[in-house]
Assembly symmetry: C2
């Protein structure tokens, strides 16, 4: 992967006592003013970091982000709100920006106050000015149960787009994934950046489901400081889409306990919205996910999952087709040889389930992962 | 439990080659005409058994049921439709009733035709008249991955209500659970029976979620032959409710791989519908289910799950209260002793999560189970 970086970004990461020794704090900012776009969780229990950041979204002038990892600072009452405000203010002062120019993100356990003393001391020790940006270090610092840091670097003409993301459980984004940030030196008008970003998020992060649970902390933002000059908007959207999709696929295949990336491509739907509903029903079905885990060609469960759309009266078994990759499972009944081929196919690291509803030409692809004993084990004792 | 039985029912069970040796076929009918009520899955992939049975529901004159277990006969095309019709017709002839008087149910693997030869031979061997009803044998014959047969016997004045049910996976009823049948000698007008049954189903089977997957075969029906004479309607509804709730709790605690019954009681909601939505969000959350499995008092996940109701703008953290049993977790932050007590509480066989939304007085209770490595193991290789 091309490790080009956008001009004019600075960063700092550190351990502030939330993780044992790995870095759990990251700040990345543009050294010059930037334009921004951002989306956040719709959760009714959104944490104070989201509340604080969202309030400044409309200004479209964020220059970067500060993230505290391993503690979501959610459902922590007034203390939590005060902590979020303080951390953002202290970090902004060190980064040389105004607090309103900083998106703050938190991720981790819910319902526990920050270990604020350690964070205060940690921020006080940040050198100024911040060192040149180390996006890989930032990607690592924002991890919780991720098994690997997730970043992507892509060129767009003279500009560069870097994306970092984390998040492997509690992911069924209503609006964004856990945490995903894009940094670029491309120059775009803020309203164009916002339109591009929302379209990209809808086809990538909003198409991702790990476990149907929606985080209280989901945040995604893009920061563009313009230092590389204007870019072609369509070309930029394509690059941002590729970057976001790469992160989504990386997150899905690193889902908690996941062994496989599961991609569900729905075609022939009445419209894209119906295709997305059908795809989500399949990618979220525990019975589909376990059969993929076991490489068991139980395609009847795919039919069952599509059948859950009980208000889509135009979905009919008689015109539905189901494939594992290129292998037709329905309506042509698979023979033993076909089932054996399906078993081998499902044993791979990436599984594509294709469903054609035979209605019209609506299409949507969603991303997820299998459901494993590892997911259960990991999530049965996370806080204690 | 009282093993009283209603008058005038006959039954037969047998192995017809779907299970290794256990019984996989059951027929139970009233020897006199009866009135009935029934509800079925809303799945768009409902199988021919459901299609056939549903067509006769409006007549409210079903006298009993025939069930083939271990094969759902779903997504089997014209052959499957012909098989369902044939099995019902042959069984009705042996039972001395008209085919339209028999609800047919199927449960098991999807997408495989019945082993019809064995079933034909098996039905041909049924003795006539059928022996007096053995409800326990019927409850055992309809099992698939259930670890135990589920039945309940309750008196209602001079009448008796017997319920049998099966179903441990693919359970998020849109309308009914997998298979549940009630037999009584109470006398009720069919339209009253229908009203009572729908109210009872809404508060019991429709309040049950094992894994969010909806079966293509869900069917629930009640058959009342009137031999014990008229009953008080309110009293009958209470008995039917108790019988259905007992089966629901039995099914939930026997959920695939389940170790615990999970009951989520929501109060203080705007209305019962909102309380049900909130309860379902919690009882279906994989992260809540795994934390209950691990006896981990991670109540923040309960808050997260409630927060998923992103269109319920009257849900506010500031007025929400969360308890494990009698132990308050939110908003009063639990201290270490409280967390230790919560851990002990969550280690039990039955866990009650109480959520008060602090809005109005809407209430609803839903039932489910924890999510375990056993669920994943069981469902990773079910067909092969």
């Amino acid at each position: 992967m091309d490790q080009a970086v956008p001009q004019g970004f600075r960063s700092y990461t550190a351990n502030m006592g939330l993780k044992d020794s790995a870095h759990d704090f990251a700040v990345v900012v543009s050294e010059v003013p930037a334009v921004s776009a951002a989306v956040y969780t719709k959760s009714r229990f959104a944490g104070p970091s989201v509340v604080l950041s969202r309030a400044d979204t409309a200004a479209q002038r964020s220059r970067g982000m500060v993230v505290v990892s391993r503690n979501a600072n959610v459902a922590t009452g007034r203390v939590g709100a005060a902590h979020a405000e303080e951390v953002r203010r202290l970090a902004a002062a060190k980064a040389g920006v105004r607090p309103e120019e900083l998106v703050i993100g938190s991720t981790g356990v819910i319902g526990r106050p920050y270990p604020i003393e350690g964070i205060r001391e940690g921020i006080a020790a940040i050198p100024t000015p911040l060192p040149p940006a180390d996006f890989e270090a930032a990607a690592a610092a924002i991890m919780t149960t991720d098994t690997r840091a997730k970043s992507v670097h892509l060129r767009c003409g003279d500009a560069v787009v870097v994306g970092i993301a984390k998040g492997v459980g509690m992911i069924e984004p209503g609006m964004a994934t856990l945490l995903a940030f894009f940094f670029t030196d491309a120059e775009l008008a803020p309203e164009r950046l916002d339109a591009v970003f929302r379209r990209v998020v809808d086809r990538t992060f909003n198409a991702l489901s790990i476990d149907t649970d929606t985080s209280t902390s989901d945040s995604a933002a893009v920061f563009a400081n313009g230092l590389a000059g204007p870019v072609d908007e369509a070309g930029f959207e394509q690059v941002l889409y590729r970057a976001a999709l790469a992160l989504v696929r990386d997150i899905a295949s690193d889902g908690e306990g996941a062994g496989k990336l599961l991609e569900v491509r729905v075609t022939g739907a009445r419209d894209a919205a119906q295709a997305k509903r059908a795809g989500k029903a399949v990618v979220n079905s525990p019975l589909v996910k376990t059969s993929v885990h076991g490489a068991d060609p139980n395609w009847g469960r795919v039919a069952m999952a599509v059948g859950k759309l009980d208000e889509d009266l135009d979905i009919e078994p008689s015109r539905t087709r189901i494939h594992y990759g290129e292998l037709e499972m329905f309506p042509e009944e698979p023979d033993e040889e076909m089932l054996a081929r399906a078993r081998r196919y499902l044993s791979g690291d990436e599984v594509v389930i294709r469903i054609d509803l035979g209605i019209a030409d609506g299409a949507f692809t969603v991303y997820g992962c299998d459901l494993t004993e590892g997911y259960v084990g990991l999530n049965s004792g996370y806080t204690t």
